[in-house]
Amino acid sequence: MKRVFLTGKFLAFALIMIAVFCFGQSESIIRATEDWPTYIDPAVGSDFSDCIAIVNLYDSLVFPNADGSVGPHLATHWDVTPDGLTWTFYLRQGVKFHSGNELTAEDVVFSVERLLTMGEGFAYMFEPFIDEVVALDPYTVQFKMKKPYGPFLSTLVRLYILEKDLVLQHLDSGPYGEFGDYGRKWLLEHDAGSGPYMVEEVKMEEYVLTKKFDDWWGGWEPNAPEYFKEMATADPVTIRTLVAKKELEITDELQPMESYEAMAKMPGVEVVRFVPGGMNLNLMLHTRKPPTDDVHFRRALAYAVDYKTIANIIFPGSLVARGPVPQTLPGHDSSIQPWEFNLDKAREELKKSKYYGQLDEYPLTLSWCAEVPEEEKIALMLQANFARIGVKLEITKKPFGSMIADAQNMETTPNCSLVFVAAHYMEAGGMLTTRYHSQSTGTWEQCEWLLNPEIDQMIEDALSTIDTEERFNKYHAIQQKLVELCPTIWLIDRAETRAYQASYVSWFVADLVHQGKKIALPLGYGLYAHDMKVFPEKK
């Protein structure tokens, strides 16, 4: 028995010694989790996790401010011709790539051509508008447009500049003629950027580890993180354990609500909720299929939704939507009021509908996205509320891939589709184009099949307006017209929830939340590590 006891003590001692030997380090690092995989090539990636890595590795000509506007970055200033067809950008001098070489206009031209040729990532934002890019001199680059494009500056936060020479040194075989694969294979695990962080290590299924670029042109504040590590998200228990052990500084936004509540109780951990610009949850109504082709029927449904329950309980911290454009997005019309949950008004509208009295013959079909389990709660709530006004709702859970396939055809698109949509860039025009222009029918972003020439014309007119105030006024008019047509029930502007180590990390997003300020940052910019601070000694 004594021998067993001694063996046990020895084993415990050995375990502790090995644990100390193998682990236990304190570093200036920010670790954040996100959905996976992550593509760090700026001509390939466009999802949330891609954006987080890319904004830290690469610089763009302009940089987004927290209020949704943009300011100078690689470009110190710019001008545009009165017809809006030529934009000239003047580049900052002395900007170094991670290789030590200087960034010039040739690199900008190469980056644009690479993006448009490959056609992936954010290419869709530029391809319809950019005609040609020319380097006028090493520090001046000119964009010639196919047509005037008012929100061009806002979209430029998604145009990241790569080092031409470095990419050309790493070409592999591929479909792009003399450019082979355009460096795609190499850029999966390496960077060719000038951003504040540079790639240290990429593990495709695990993490992207980046290291501070000491020579970054923008300079550094004390206590900026030496490393920034983006990791694949894991099981909620694993995430909670990592947070408790202070091995994870900022969680992803995908954790269950009970996990956030548990983490909020951990010492030094704070949970922040904010409504970033640009993501709303829509109940898209098929305007070409009975009975949702009747505007009164659609309005009746809009009155039969309990918006506050969705915003406060199902997606806590979210805002009840006010029209088609999220409230934090520049160009939103603040005069639009949210729909109210009022079954009497719903019944009144239903009486005006041509389907009144024959509702039994027109059951509604609804698809919700299997990847977002909370949507089922909303679908069931809608089913119960619609039943109270005599409308039958048939619910189907569908993988997002199937919803995309259904949306490609007018016949296969259901009456109602529950879909989250994120703005492509921080301006109302992006959201209005992809959601309601006839060009986007047949995609998951427009299950309404609106096909309204007047709306199309209004959107095109707004987008071609270079003057910001005038353009925004045109956006307002489109939003009011859409509210009148009611092709969609706009449910909520979604809040993003994350837990972070408030005791030793200073995170600018949390600071803005504490100050009650608006946050309208494009995807990824909320985790711009350069603007964070970390104090490992306070762990």
């Binding site: 375990l15 090995i18 193998c22 099981d235 990592l242 052990k245 891939g401 199937s402």
Partner: protein, 342 residues
Amino acid sequence: MSLTKYIIKRIVYSIGVLFGVSILIFVISNIVPGDPARMALGPRAPEWAVEDLRKEMNLDKPLVERYFLWLSDLMRGDLGESLRSRRPITKDIAEYLPASIEIIALSAFFMAVIGINLGRLSARFSGTWFDGVVRILSYTGIVTPAFVWAILFVLLFSYLIPIFPTTGRITPGLAAPPRITGMYIIDGLLTGNFRVALNAFWHIVLPSLALSMGGAAQAARMTRASMVDNAEKDYILAVRAYGVPNKLIYRRLLLKPSLVAPISIMALDIAALLGNAFLVELVFLYPGISRYGVEAMLNKDLFAIISVVLIIGIGYTIANVVIDVIIAHLDPRVRLGGAKSA
């Protein structure tokens, strides 16, 4: 039939089986709904880019032609490019398979050591309180999914008593050893980097333990049942009559013939881990082939799906051959099927 002939015959059969599996999985993965090119490039990619990718993947060709194109590439060692990782599948497999083999090997060790020893002791003390406890533990082990054990172990040994790491293959900051086999423990040992080897071992203890619980419980039950059954046989009664000590009977005489069934089951359990470790790999953020395979399926990553299924098929085939050889060694009566019965 000699053992060599027997093994060759089994390998030839196995190649036929793998060929059949390749046709089956190729057809299934190609006819399930969804456009792999569209899923790879995302919903906003322009149609011309999607069309280009379809052509690159031969998706514009008939299914039969696609299969033979894929097969000829396979013969040249080219498994295609993963739509998800955007790199050659051979590279992905070279990265993830050794990681999985490491945890599966340790799981196999745990299964054998824990399962057989618990079963042996349970049989020896059959009918006592100890036997009762082991039987309850065995049932618990069998009915509890591996990911539940994984979560439990994370809570116990990483959170409450933080002696094991929570995620990954190696502690950040430590450089991976120079690649020889792709298995960090082996590579660390071969290159004299003992700290890395120990660190890598430390990282796989909990996932391996979680994966082994079901198999160990099963092995314990089967070993016990088999030993209790064999203990009543005439040759054991005769040995007992000669006064051979009980301890010696259980350790030397009963164990070997009683291992046929547990080893058969364990070998299949171990082969199954290649495909079934997904949730455990997810809990520990462990970059293994199972997680890679499931992600490939969710993303309709055609060639990656086929490659992973083939690897799992090969794993099963090897496991079956190994089982037969081990069983033939343990119990000469079943040797090599061709032996004429008396």
